[in-house]
C-alpha cells in the first residue's frame, strides 16, 4: 500500500516531483562537476610535482650553492695566454653540477636512510651537459676571415646542452627515475654502477632519434642506451646514468646533489624533516607540500577556482536546491491537509503519515541523485573536453633553493652566459632562467566516491525536504485538518 500510494502521489504531482528532483539534481551535478574538476587539478598538480620531484618521493634534501660556486664551468677553448689561430676548430663537452646545486658527500644518503620514519633514501647527482663546437675566427670566437671582410658572417658555432641525472642503481622506487618508469629496455643492474650505460627519456630519445642499443654522448663519452623511460609531463631530465658513472664523468667522486627520501607514512614527514635538519643543519629539505605552494600559473588559478569559487558555488546551489525542495514539499503537504486528516481519522498513526511524506521526499531525492549524477558526469566530460591546457610554473625563489629533484634545465642561453665569465655570474643568470613551466592538460575524472557522495547528498536533500513536509503533517490535528474542508 505504501508503495502504491507513493507511486500514485508522485505521478499525480509529477511536475512538482520533477522540479524537486531537477533542483536537487542541478545542485548535486555542480558538486560532481566541481569535485571532478578539483580531482583533475589535483592530478595535474601531482603530475607537475612528480615531474619536479620524482615518483614515490616525499621530500628531497639539497644544499644551497654558495654564491660564486657551482654552475657551469668556464670553457677553456684555446689554451692559456695565446689566442688560437683563425680557422682552428674547437669542441668542448663539459658535465657539471646543475646550476644552483651544491654537491655534498653521498655518505649522507646512508645516514638519512637510518633516520627514524624513513622508508627509503636515494642519492642523485643532477648535472648539466654543455657542449660547444665550431671554429675560431680572425678576431676571436665566431669571427670569420674567409672573405677578408670585417663585415663577413662569422662561422657557425654549435652549442648544445641537456640535463643528466646520476641515480643509484640499487634503489628502484625512489629518486629522479624509478624502475616503473622504464617502459622500454631495462633498469641498471647492480654491477653497472660505473658502467657506460644510460637510460634516456622518451622525449629526448625522440628528439635525438635514439633507440635501445644506440649511443648517447655525455662528457665526450659514448654510453649505451639500455632503456627508455616515460617520464611525467614536464620532467626535463634527458639522460640517466648510474651514479658512479655520473660521478666519474663529472669529476665529482662520492658526491651527490640531492637525496630523495620517502617516509614510512605521511604523518611522519614532519618528524623526518626535523631529523634531517638536525643531521644536516645547512640542508634545504623540500616536501611535496612546499613544492605545491610554489606552483603558480593557470594550474594554480584553476586549483584556487576549484577550491574556492567551485566549493562555494556548490554549497550555494545545494542550499538553494534544498530550500526549493523543502518549500515545495511543505506546499504539497498544505494542499493535502484534508487527505492526511482523513488518514488520521481512519486510524493512521502520525508516524505512518510522516513516513509517507518522508518516503516521497526520499524518492524525489533519489531521482535527484540519478539526475545529478547524469548531469554531473556530463559536466565533467564538458570540462575535460573544453578545458585548455594549464601551465604550472615554479619560480626562481624555489629554484635557487635547489629543490628540483628530477629537473634539469635545457637550453642554450644559460650556458652561454657562463662562457668566459666568472662562474658566479653564470649561476645568477642560470637561476633567473630556472623558472620552470609545465603544460598540463586538465581532465575532470569522476570518482566513485564522488558519485556516492552525490547520491547521498541528493537523498539528504530529499529527506530534509520530506522532514519539513512531514513536520507540517505531524502537527496536523485530525479535527483541525478535517475542519478546514468545511
Amino acid at each position: 500500500m505504501l508503495f502504491t500510494y507513493l507511486a500514485r502521489e508522485l505521478r499525480r504531482r509529477s511536475k512538482q516531483a520533477a522540479v524537486v528532483a531537477l533542483g536537487l539534481g542541478i545542485g548535486v551535478a555542480l558538486v560532481v562537476t566541481v569535485s571532478a574538476a578539483s580531482a583533475g587539478v589535483k592530478t595535474a598538480q601531482a603530475t607537475v610535482l612528480h615531474s619536479l620531484y620524482g615518483v614515490g618521493t616525499d621530500m628531497s634534501v639539497t644544499q644551497t650553492a654558495a654564491a660564486g660556486s657551482g654552475g657551469p664551468q668556464r670553457f677553456s677553448l684555446g689554451g692559456s695566454g695565446t689566442a688560437p689561430a683563425a680557422g682552428t676548430p674547437f669542441a668542448r663537452d663539459v658535465l657539471s653540477a646543475s646550476a644552483g646545486s651544491a654537491t655534498f658527500s653521498s655518505s649522507k644518503v646512508a645516514e638519512i636512510e637510518k633516520l627514524k620514519g624513513v622508508n627509503a633514501a636515494s642519492g642523485g647527482l643532477l648535472l648539466d651537459d654543455r657542449n660547444i663546437s665550431g671554429t675560431f675566427g680572425s678576431f676571436g670566437l665566431g669571427a670569420s676571415s674567409s672573405s677578408g671582410s670585417s663585415s663577413s658572417t662569422p662561422p657557425p658555432i654549435s652549442f648544445n646542452s641537456f640535463s643528466v641525472a646520476g641515480v643509484q642503481v640499487a634503489t628502484k622506487s625512489v629518486g629522479p627515475l624509478t624502475a616503473s618508469e622504464v617502459t622500454s629496455g631495462r633498469w641498471f643492474t647492480a654491477d653497472e654502477n660505473s658502467s657506460a650505460v644510460a637510460i634516456v627519456s622518451s622525449s629526448y630519445a625522440k628528439q635525438q632519434s635514439l633507440k635501445l642499443g644506440s649511443s648517447v654522448t655525455v662528457a665526450a663519452t659514448n654510453l649505451d642506451v639500455i632503456g627508455i623511460a616515460s617520464l611525467p609531463s614536464g620532467s626535463t631530465t634527458d639522460v640517466f646514468l648510474p651514479l658512479g658513472e655520473a660521478q666519474k664523468l663529472s669529476d665529482l667522486p662520492g658526491e651527490v646533489t640531492t637525496v630523495y627520501v620517502s617516509a614510512k607514512s605521511a604523518s611522519e614527514v614532519s618528524a623526518v624533516v626535523a631529523s634531517i635538519h638536525k643531521l644536516m643543519p645547512n640542508a634545504t629539505v623540500t616536501t611535496s607540500a612546499d613544492l605545491a605552494s610554489e606552483v603558480t600559473g593557470s594550474l594554480s588559478s584553476a586549483s584556487s577556482l576549484a577550491t574556492n569559487l567551485g566549493k562555494w558555488l556548490s554549497i550555494a546551489a545545494l542550499l538553494v536546491a534544498f530550500s526549493v525542495a523543502a518549500l515545495l514539499m511543505v506546499a504539497a503537504v498544505s494542499r493535502r491537509v484534508r487527505e492526511f486528516g482523513t488518514l488520521k481519522a481512519l486510524g493512521w498513526r502520525t508516524r505512518r503519515v510522516v513516513g509517507q511524506v518522508m518516503s516521497e521526499g526520499l524518492v524525489q531525492g533519489l531521482l535527484g541523485g540519478v539526475v545529478g549524477v547524469g548531469l554531473g558526469i556530463g559536466g565533467a566530460a564538458l570540462v575535460s573536453g573544453v578545458a585548455p591546457s594549464l601551465t604550472a610554473t615554479v619560480g626562481p625563489s624555489f629554484a635557487t633553493g635547489g629543490g628540483f629533484g628530477g629537473s634539469g634545465v635545457r637550453g642554450t642561453g644559460a650556458s652561454l652566459g657562463g662562457l668566459g665569465g666568472p662562474s658566479g655570474e653564470g649561476v645568477r643568470r642560470n637561476v633567473a632562467d630556472l623558472t620552470h613551466s609545465v603544460a598540463v592538460h586538465l581532465t575532470a575524472p569522476v570518482e566513485g566516491h564522488t558519485l556516492l557522495l552525490a547520491i547521498l547528498l541528493a537523498i539528504a536533500g530529499g529527506i530534509v525536504a520530506g522532514s519539513l513536509g512531514a513536520w507540517r503533517a505531524a502537527r496536523l490535528r485530525p479535527a483541525n485538518a478535517l475542519r478546514k474542508v468545511e
Binding site: R8, R338, T342, L343, K344, L346, G347
Partner: protein, 231 residues
Amino acid sequence: MYELKDVSKHFEKSGRSVPALEHVDLTIEEGDVLAIQGPTGQGKTTLLQLLGGLDRASSGTVMFDGQDLGRLGEVKLADLRARAFGFVFQTFNLIPTLTALENVEVALVPLHARGVERRRRAAATLEEVGMAERSSHLPSELSGGEQQRVAIARAIVKDPKVLLADEPTGNLDEETRDEVVNLLESMSRFRDLTLVIVTHDSTVARRAPRVALIKKGRLSIRERKRSESPA
C-alpha cells in the same frame, strides 16, 4: 457505550474564546441510531469529532466503553479510531490517486492486515455496498453517490463498533440521498452498529429513532415514540 457529562468545547479565535458546545450531557447505547440535527455552525460536527476521538473536550468527560477519550494518548486514540470508529464525511474524502478498492484497503492498513487479506475484505465490502464492479475506478470516475458508497465501505470494512456520519447526504441529490441513508441504516442493522448521523436535513433526521437537536452548542434530545414510524 457513550456517556458524555457536562462536555464543553471552546475554540480560540483572534484571541477570543468561542464556544462550540456547552454543557452537553448525552448517553448513547450500543446499537442506537442517533441523528444530531441542527443548523450549520451550531456544533454538530464538533460533537461528532469528540465522539470519534478526533478532538478533545475543553471540559467535561467523553466516556466510550469505560474509557475517557480526553485522557487517552494520541497513539491509543489512533488505535481506537482504527478499530472502533468508522467515519463517513460529507465530501467523501477519498484519496484521489487510489482506486475504490485501494481506498477501502486504506482503512485496514493500521490494523496491519496483510495485502491479500486487505484486498479480500475490501472487495467483499465493496460488493456489500453494490460497488464491486466499480472497484478499479478512481474517485474522479465515480458519481457522488458512488463515492459515498465507497466511503461507507471504507468505514465499515474494519467492523467498527460505531459508524459516525457527518452530513453524509449533504452533497447528494434527493434520490441518491435516500439510497445512501437506506444503505447506512441497513449496514447498521445487519452489522449491529451504533450509528450517529450529523445532519441539517430534517428528512434524514426524521428517520432516526432518537434525534439530538443542537442549537448554539446546547443539546436537547427528542425520543421518537414507539408508535411513530420513520418517514
